[in-house]
């Protein structure tokens, strides 16, 4: 397998050189298309909501004699669902806190996937990296009795190191044997899950006196410091995004990552070690996933179980894609998906929309974002040439 055929990052529009061309102008079409994609996904979602509401289906039976009922009930169903979505995500201070709390791990894991994208790799392994990081993080968190700041830092470091090593395996295998990271990371996800189950069956990981696969929550001395009842994980996620931005755009290592992502053969010719970039980039991606699981364990003080990563590891992929594999984009996409996730629960409670709805919406948004030609066709936008031909490369 030639190294030139690796997963390419979604095209990042580069600002045009020359006087007068501002960064914002270059990004404007991308922003427009992203918003259009979200709108289109919500429209498709509205159709699903309409046809899953019993009252609307019943009104179809007499559609030709009294069509108004159908439109009224359909409108009401969509209005109920989407207003619950908005209220549940941004409607109150509590809702905003929940949204940010859900956004924080998505941003961290999403940054990991983004970083791998920039190095030309497709990291599907955030889930497994989170689980393995969680084993160490949780074990330090609830298994030891340490002073307050030290305990927190140790647990955080444990998560980052363990997840980083797990991510590094995929990078190492790709660099040394050419095994494609899509396959190895998927397999490592399963292996990581069974590893977690193995440890959860151990007595040291279970609540005293119980033997279900659930650990005690981490000690208070290991939890994130909180401000006004909100844990500071979100701030840490934003700091991580800033750090990744600096690393990617301003450091030698970041330059190597981008060079290898753009063209590994050219990077090798220029004297860069492509193997080292693969290994370090995947390790860093794993470390960010470790940060994500620390948000869950140390921030929300969730007990360690095989549900600890939820679907965050997979949502991270969609977050990174929606964020165009840039740190700022990932933060914004993470907040959007955090809002969809917390609003999705409200939508279920208030309007009876199934919880799978947010998953469908997320998938649709990314699908439409990845197909700018479709979006332009639907909304009659003028093509700018940017992003039209995404260089899609595989194995």
């Amino acid at each position: 397998m030639s190294d030139a055929k690796t997963a390419q990052p979604p095209v990042v529009p580069q600002p045009k050189p020359g006087p007068g061309a501002s960064r914002w102008e270059a990004w404007l079409p991308t922003v427009k298309e992203t918003i259009a994609a979200v709108v289109l996904a919500l429209l498709v979602g509205a159709l699903l909501i309409i046809f899953s509401t019993p009252r609307v289906i019943e009104s179809l039976a007499y559609f030709f004699s009294y069509p108004w009922d159908f439109f009224k009930f359909a409108g009401l169903a969509v209005w109920d669902a989407y207003s619950a979505l908005l209220n549940g995500s941004l409607g109150s201070p509590g809702a905003i806190v929940r949204t940010l709390e859900r956004a924080a791990p998505l941003i961290c894991a999403g940054l990991g996937v983004s970083l791998a994208f920039r190095a030309g790799m497709f990291n599907i392994g955030a889930q497994g990296q989170m689980l393995v990081g969680g084993i160490v993080c949780g074990w330090i968190g609830f298994g030891f009795d340490l002073p307050i700041v030290l305990h927190f830092l140790l647990a955080l470091a444990g998560a980052i190191v363990a997840a980083g090593l797990w991510g590094g395996i995929a990078g190492f295998l790709k660099a040394r044997t050419g095994a494609h990271e899509v396959i190895t990371t998927i397999m490592l996800n399963y292996v990581g899950r069974f590893l977690l189950l193995y440890f959860l069956a151990k007595e040291a990981f279970q609540r005293p006196g119980e033997d279900n696969l659930l650990s005690p929550p981490v000690a208070d001395s290991a939890s994130f410091p909180s401000i006004l009842g909100v844990h500071t994980g979100f701030l840490l996620a934003v700091l991580a995004a800033l750090l990744i931005w600096w690393l990617l755009e301003r450091s030698t290592w970041g330059f190597e990552i981008r060079a290898v992502g753009a063209n590994p053969d050219a990077a090798r010719t220029a004297g860069m070690s492509v193997a080292r970039v693969y290994i370090t980039a995947m390790t860093a991606a794993g470390m960010l996933a470790g940060l994500a699981v620390a948000m869950q364990l140390l921030g929300r003080q969730d007990p360690l179980s095989d549900q600890i990563a939820g679907s965050i590891g997979f949502d991270a992929i969609t977050v990174a894609l929606l964020g165009r594999a840039t740190p700022l984009g990932t933060v914004l996409a993470g907040i959007l998906f955090g809002a969809l996730s917390s609003g999705g629960l409200a939508m279920q409670a208030a309007a009876g929309v199934p919880p799978e709805m947010s998953q469908v919406l997320q998938a649709l948004i990314v699908l439409f974002v990845a197909a700018p030609a479709l979006i332009r066709g639907v909304f009659r936008m003028r093509g700018t040439g940017q992003g039209t031909t995404v260089m899609a490369k595989g194995w």
């Binding site: 397998m1 055929k5 997963a7 390419q8 979604p10 699903l48 899953s52 497709f122 599907i124 295998l173 044997t177 050419g178 095994a179 494609h180 899509v182 396959i183 190895t184 998927i186 397999m187 490592l188 399963y190 292996v191 069974f194 590893l195 189950l197 193995y198 069956a201 997979f314 992929i317 969609t318 894609l321 199934p354 799978e356 709805m357 998953q359 469908v360 997320q362 998938a363 649709l364 990314v366 699908l367 990845a370 197909a371 030609a373 479709l374 031909t389 995404v390 260089m391 899609a392 490369k393 595989g394 194995w395």
Partner: protein
């Protein structure tokens, strides 16, 4: 390279003709020596650590009244396996390990004897009252491998035409859901379908759903030129979400009408099914398994013996050249993607009507990705992919069977098939050569 250090000294006898050996050749020898050395060391350990040399076995899938466990002494099997591995190790160390077919047969022999030696150790000295017996691995292997093979065929067809299909898992889920729904509807009194046609109607549902996801794949990959790796992952998420959503839409009191399919019946092929050991497992199966056998042959024939197959491979290798001689690149790609959808949909149907019945959320449990790994391990050849799928099925079944023996921790055993995949892909497949234009959209300039 440290590779030469690991080669065991060929006991003083100098090699007669110093051949020029390239690095790949040395690496091959090193790999063989290391593999056989590990195999030998483990087998010796297995043979030495058996205290009670009696194990029981049956030739059928499980112990039953007609199939009483028979006794077997482990000594011969264990040490026989040690001898085979030792011979292979010596041959590899002397660089006399045969190549091509003979090498394959010898490697297979080492693998099978290793499996037997391992089994002796795993089943000997069981503590506890319940003594598990060694059972025939073939029925379980086939049960797991059938959908994997069908999914891998879909992958082969798509990727030979230059379209990466990561969405096999999505096609499985859609196929499983709609096969269940179609079969349930057919057997319920909602529509009138003759009983004989109910099962085919259900399979048709699976096929239609598989082709449906394939249509999405084709539309976004070929028409809108979306990054195909990304697209595949998104389609899996979409299929998983949509099937779970639709499943939630079936009211509880109507589960029987919409999601309670009759499981396919087994059809016995008269003479072949009477072959000992193999017959029952291979030729007393549901129609899906027979379709799987036929599909492997059909896809191989189509791809390598027909004009259409040549076109498919040419648009996957060099679309521009194909276009130059008048082949409609995207039309051929569409055909391959849609035909692949048929097989993937059938594979998905196996998870409901072919095995357990009702659809459940994420019923295929990530096996679509294993099918994808099988495509790559089989080097984009239908027969290679089928054997890779059978290898996964075998590993999976071994893990299932060993879970009854409380000798190895169940959780780590559960990881074994996935670890085997990683080792197989990283250790033995390595840098494979995919179709040259795999994943590249063709834009006519």
């Amino acid at each position: 390279m440290g590779a030469t250090d690991t080669i065991q000294a060929p006991s003083g006898t100098p090699v007669e003709e110093p051949r020029v050996r390239d690095r790949a050749d040395v690496a091959r020898q090193a790999r063989l020596v290391i593999t056989f050395a590990i195999s030998l060391a483990l087998l010796v350990y297995f043979a030495l650590s058996i205290d009670n040399t009696t194990v029981t076995y049956v030739l059928g899938e499980r112990v039953s009244v007609d199939d009483r466990p028979k006794e077997l002494t482990t000594t011969w099997v264990s040490w026989g396996a040690v001898v085979v591995s030792a011979v292979a190790l010596v041959l590899a160390a002397l660089n006399r390990f045969p190549r091509r077919w003979a090498g394959l047969v010898l490697a297979l022999l080492v693998g099978i004897t290793f499996y037997l030696g391992f089994l002796m150790w795993a089943y000997a000295d069981q503590g506890g009252a319940f003594q598990a017996a060694i059972a025939n691995p073939i029925p379980g292997t086939m049960a797991i491998a059938t959908p994997l093979v069908l999914g891998a065929l879909a992958g082969c067809l798509c990727e030979r035409a230059g379209v990466i299909n990561i969405a096999i898992e999505g096609q499985f889920l859609a196929g499983a859901f709609f096969a269940s729904v179609f079969t349930s509807i057919a057997y319920s009194s909602l529509v009138f379908i003759p009983v004989a046609l109910c099962a085919p109607f259900g399979l048709l549902g699976g096929v239609v759903a598989g082709v449906g996801v394939a249509t999405m794949l084709g539309l976004f990959a070929l028409r809108y030129q979306v990054n195909q790796v990304v697209l595949g992952v998104v389609l899996v998420a979409l299929a998983s979400g949509l099937t779970a959503f639709l499943l939630g839409q079936i009211p509880g009191d109507e589960q029987d009408t919409f999601n309670n399919p009759q499981i396919l019946e087994e059809i016995r092929i008269p003479v072949l099914a009477d072959i000992p050991v193999l017959g029952e497992a291979l030729f007393n199966q549901t129609i899906l398994v027979y379709l799987m056998y036929v599909s492997v042959a059909v896809v191989t024939f189509l791809l390598f013996e027909t004009r259409w197959g040549l076109r498919v491979r040419s648009v996957g290798e060099h679309p521009k050249a194909a276009d130059t001689v008048g082949i409609k690149v995207n039309r051929v790609r569409w055909q391959a993607v849609l035909l692949g959808g048929v097989f993937a949909g059938l594979g998905g149907a196996y998870y409901t009507v072919g095995s357990t019945g009702a659809f459940d959320r994420d019923v295929s449990a990530g096996t679509g990705f294993i099918a994808l790994a099988a495509v790559i391990m089989g080097r984009w050849h239908p027969i290679g992919a089928a054997f890779a799928a059978i290898f996964f099925g075998f590993m999976w079944n071994l893990q299932n069977q060993l879970s009854f023996v409380e000798k190895l921790p169940g959780e780590l055993l559960g990881a074994a098939p996935y670890l085997a995949t990683i080792i197989a892909v990283a250790g033995f497949v390595g840098r494979v050569r995919p179709p040259a234009a795999d994943g590249e959209p063709y834009v006519k300039s």
